[in-house]
Amino acid sequence: MTEIASANLMRGTVDLVVLRTLTQGPMHGFSIARWIRERSGDAVSFEDAALYQSLHRLERQGLVESSWGRSENNRRARFYTLTGKGRRRLQDETDAFHSYAAAITSLLETEK
């Protein structure tokens, strides 16, 4: 795999995970990071840098929206919400990921 393809794959994965995380409702970046960390038991780990880049990329693509609000401890935080477009994209990507994963899995198993 070339570096760029790997970076794209990585980005795609991060985006997918972020979108999935936001299905729970509006969250700020820090709580998204924490949730992913807790959920995946550190199996999926990426830097916070990648998370924030993903958030801003997704917002530019119109998949999420942001607005300023107050965090649990009353700090000013930027909250992200999934848009309708984001929700649809998540569905499509999830389906695609599943079939991709299934294809790879079956491929790997055949080879065995």
Partner: protein, 876 residues
């Protein structure tokens, strides 16, 4: 305002500084993470360092996120424009809804002005610019013979035939003759406007037939069977769009005439014709003599030919025909048809544009004042981070919304009012029947309203959104006064309105004075209580003098029994009836007078009309066939050497030839002068000859003076005529007063319309003046309070505002007067009895205007005087 809060408002604008936003967001993350780490026991500085370390490449992320945000913002700004517009639209509607009063007035005024403009422009365009029904209307000319003696004359048949044969500069030479024909149907006889046309007439027109076909060449041969083409209007109206009309015959002019075809509305000519018949060159006398110049000639210019060239060629041809005129004339048909109405209609259009301008100035002033009052609101929006561009755009959008809304409402109103408005238009305007609201006019009127809304929003938009918020907030706190340029602009609106009002009322005043001068002219007879019925005897039933005379005698005899009749008479060539019969009088010593109007009237005429008999006697019962030939004259008839013709003189007209033994008639009376040619024309000399001594006539009028209600007399007269002969149309009955009134319908129309415009403009100007002063008083409340604290009295303050109001009005009036000097010149041709510079009109106008302005200024002046100095000083 703190930096933090300003940023909080940033989502309002959609494009605050992305760099700072990203910084804040990442800072929040790092602080949260550091808190966590501190909770696990790390020292604060170490926690922060660790958090940054865990984060990854902070600088690169910041750059990446910023770049993404900038791309998003840029795209939103352009692709998201519709949404921003929708947002601003909501905002605009909310701001209008919050104080509808401030918007309803200017919007209403704009809407009303749009309505007026749409109506006037629709009518004017309808009349002036609706195309003639010819394929190439700019090439169709009206052609006439021009004689040495009478100047422009109509065309005689032999000359027309010569033109058709020989002319090289024109094609399709044709002519027509307008006649009225009795159309007999089961439910009565009506008079229809018929047009008798020569060969070639329908070749001039552009696909005129709805069904059937026009006349062929044979139809114009002598002894050709008669045929008629109906107008679509007549076919649909009178004949209920009968699909079998082409198989029907009509009883028309005493003959059964088959219908040959139906002419599409708007494609026939003249456009008010009910039907067309073929002109047959049968009646000798008329059709073979070049002296009988009775036809209206039309022709189409050949490519390259000009009207002048055509006139020269046609003149050469006609001078070669025996009895033909030595010259000819050819002018564009449009010019001929619209010559009389073009100027007043264009003036009307100009006037209504002035009204629109005044309305724009008025609405503009109000909207501007509203915008200025709202600058504080704008300053707040800018200060909480809304982009200046966006705020300005929002304001313009609001202005556009207002203008467009007013325009559409105005247009809808115009569509509703068009029909009633057309009823006010005088009948004699060409095409007036076929006018509909025109899309070009509609677009134009709405466009103007839209432009007004946008332009008046420009000032607050540009000044309100660009200025630094802090300065603006300071400046726009109420009562602190405002920039000098803004004040001048607002006052400029007031001055403009007053000037326009003066301009319009000056025109209206002059027309009004002319109209009053016209209708108060003494016509020379008393039109009240006189009923007139026009009678046309069809020649197929009354072929000779004997039949006509016995019918006339019988009608007159029976008319004496009409309800309330105190005097009855028959007459031909009545005053103010557009009829004209002129002839010189030939005196005993062989002298010929100038041309005089010759009226054929029966005994009783001078009693019915109450024309004073100054000398001798009027006609009596014996002045009939077989009696001694007599003549009554008015005092203005003179022989070339200036001698008047009085009682005892002997003379005759050329009408009906000489009757006495020596061919002369005894003048038995002199009667007062009569304004025969209309109220605005000086009384021409009139000679009266006994109706019954001139063999009667096929066309004449019955006149009845009666104290009974006019409608009753009219109905009785109709019944009487119907009982004498049902085939004579009895549809033209009315009062003499109505005929006079109709004769001034044009001037009355222009006077009424311009007066309405003038009144509107004055009301607008006064309202504008009042609103302008009120705004100014509100804006200067603090200064006024200060003055009062320093000793200015209430009357002093009131006087100050009043003086300002009068100064503005005075300036506007001066400007208006200056403008009206050249402008009223244009009215000259419409004026009667006053000059364009009439001092009485202007003086009355100025006095009224200044008095009204003083009244209008008083309300804001009183408000100014009530300012409480203590309160305003506290506010400062």
């Amino acid at each position: 305002m703190g930096r933090r809060e300003r940023r909080r408002g940033s989502h309002l604008s959609g494009h605050a500084d992305p760099g700072r936003e990203v910084d804040d967001e990442l800072d929040f993350h790092l602080r949260q993470r550091a808190d966590e780490l501190r909770a696990r026991g790390l020292p604060a500085a170490e926690a922060r360092r660790r958090a940054e370390e865990e984060f990854g490449d902070l600088a690169a992320t910041r750059r990446y996120c910023e770049a993404e945000d900038r791309r998003r913002v840029r795209r939103e700004r352009f692709l998201g424009l519709p949404r921003a517009v929708a947002d601003e639209l909501r905002l605009a509607l909310r701001s209008i809804g919050r104080r509808p009063g401030a918007v309803v007035a200017p919007a209403g005024i704009l809407a009303a002005a749009v309505t007026l403009n749409a109506l006037v422009f629709t009518v004017v365009r309808g009349v002036l610019f609706s195309p003639l029904p010819f394929p190439d209307p700019d090439r169709v000319v009206a052609v006439d013979e021009v004689t040495e003696q009478y100047g422009l004359s109509r065309v005689s048949y032999p000359v027309l035939a010569a033109w058709r044969r020989e002319a090289r500069t024109v094609d399709d030479v044709a002519a027509y003759l307008e006649t009225e024909l009795p159309l007999v149907r089961e439910n009565g006889t009506t008079r229809v406007r018929g047009v008798a046309v020569t060969e070639g007439f329908f070749d001039l027109l552009d696909a005129p037939m709805l069904s059937g076909h026009p006349f062929d060449a044979d139809a114009h041969q002598p002894d050709a069977p008669p045929a008629v083409l109906l107008s679509e209007r007549l076919w649909r109206g009178t004949f209920g769009a009968d699909p079998s009309i082409l198989r029907r015959t009509l009883r028309l002019g005493g003959r059964e005439v088959p219908v040959l075809g139906v002419v599409r509305d708007g494609r026939g000519f003249p456009d008010d014709a009910d039907l067309w018949v073929a002109l047959e060159p049968t009646s000798p006398g008329l059709m073979e003599v070049a002296g009988a110049k009775i036809l209206v000639g039309l022709a189409r210019l050949r490519p390259g030919a000009t009207p002048d060239l055509a006139a020269r060629e046609l003149g050469e041809i006609s001078s070669g025909v025996v009895g033909g005129a030595p010259h000819a004339s050819a002018v564009m048909l449009t010019q001929r048809l619209l010559g009389d109405v073009r100027t007043p209609l264009l003036l009307l259009e100009g006037a209504v544009l002035l009204v629109l301008l005044a309305a724009c100035a008025n609405a503009g002033g109000m909207l501007l004042a509203r915008g200025v009052r709202r600058r504080a609101e704008l300053a707040v929006r800018v200060s909480v981070g809304a982009g200046a561009f966006r705020v300005a755009g929002g304001l313009l959008l609001e202005g556009a919304l207002l203008g467009l809304g007013s325009g559409v409402v105005g247009l809808a109103l115009a569509a509703v009012l068009l029909k009633p408005a057309l009823a006010l238009v005088p009948d004699d305007l060409p095409h007036a029947g076929a006018i509909a609201l025109d899309p070009v006019v509609a677009a134009f009127a709405v466009g103007l309203a839209l432009a007004t809304g946008v332009v008046t929003a420009l000032v607050p938009a540009l000044t309100g959104s660009r200025t630094r918020p802090s300065a603006l907030l300071r400046e726009s706190s109420p009562g602190a006064g405002e920039a000098a340029w803004l004040r001048r602009l607002l006052e400029g609106f007031v001055v403009t309105q007053v000037a326009l009002a003066v301009l319009l009322t000056a025109g209206a005043g002059l027309l009004l004075r002319s109209f009053v001068a016209t209708v108060t002219e003494d016509p020379g007879f008393d039109p009240t209580h006189v009923t007139v019925m026009d009678v046309a005897l069809p020649d197929y039933r009354y072929p000779d003098v004997g039949a006509r005379l016995s019918f006339a005698h019988e009608l007159l005899r029976r008319a004496a029994d009409l309800p309330g009749a105190t005097a009855v008479a028959l007459g031909r060539n009545l005053p103010i009836s557009e009829s004209t019969m002129t002839s010189p009088l030939l005196t005993a010593d062989g002298m010929e007078t100038g041309s005089v109007q010759v009226a054929l009237v029966s005994a009783g005429y001078f009693d019915v009309m109450r024309i004073p008999v100054r000398e001798g006697r009027g006609f009596e019962g014996d002045d009939r066939e077989g009696g001694p030939p007599v003549l009554v004259v008015d005092p203005d008839i003179r022989t070339p050497d200036g001698e008047t013709i009085g009682v005892g003189s002997r003379a005759h007209s050329y009408y009906g030839g000489p009757d006495g033994p020596d061919g002369l008639r005894n003048v038995v009376g002199v009667v007062g002068p009569v304004r025969h040619d209309g109220l605005r024309a000086a009384p021409p000399p009139v000679a009266y000859e006994p109706f019954f001594q001139k063999g009667g006539a096929a066309g004449f009028s019955l006149l009845v003076r009666s104290d009974a209600p006019a409608a009753v007399v009219a109905q009785a007269a109709r019944t009487l005529l119907g009982s004498l002969d049902p085939e004579i149309p009895a549809d033209r009955v009315g009062t003499m007063s109505a005929r006079i009134s109709r004769s001034v319908a044009g001037p009355r129309f222009y006077t009424v319309v311009l007066s309405v415009f003038g009144i509107l403009a004055v009301v607008l100007a006064l309202a504008g003046c009042q609103a302008g002063l009120a705004h100014r008083v509100a804006a200067r409340r603090r200064e006024i309070g200060l003055r009062m604290a320093l000793g200015a009295t209430q009357p002093g303050v009131r006087g100050m505002v009043l003086r300002r109001g009068l100064a503005l009005t005075g300036a506007g009036a001066a400007l208006g007067l200056l403008l009206s000097i050249p402008a009223t010149r244009l009215l000259d041709a419409q004026l009667y009895g006053v000059t364009a510079g009439d001092p009485v009109t202007y003086a009355a106008l100025l006095v009224l205007l200044l008095a009204a302005a003083a009244l209008a200024s008083d309300l804001p002046a009183r408000r100014a005087a009530r300012v409480d100095p203590a309160e305003t000083l506290r506010e400062a």
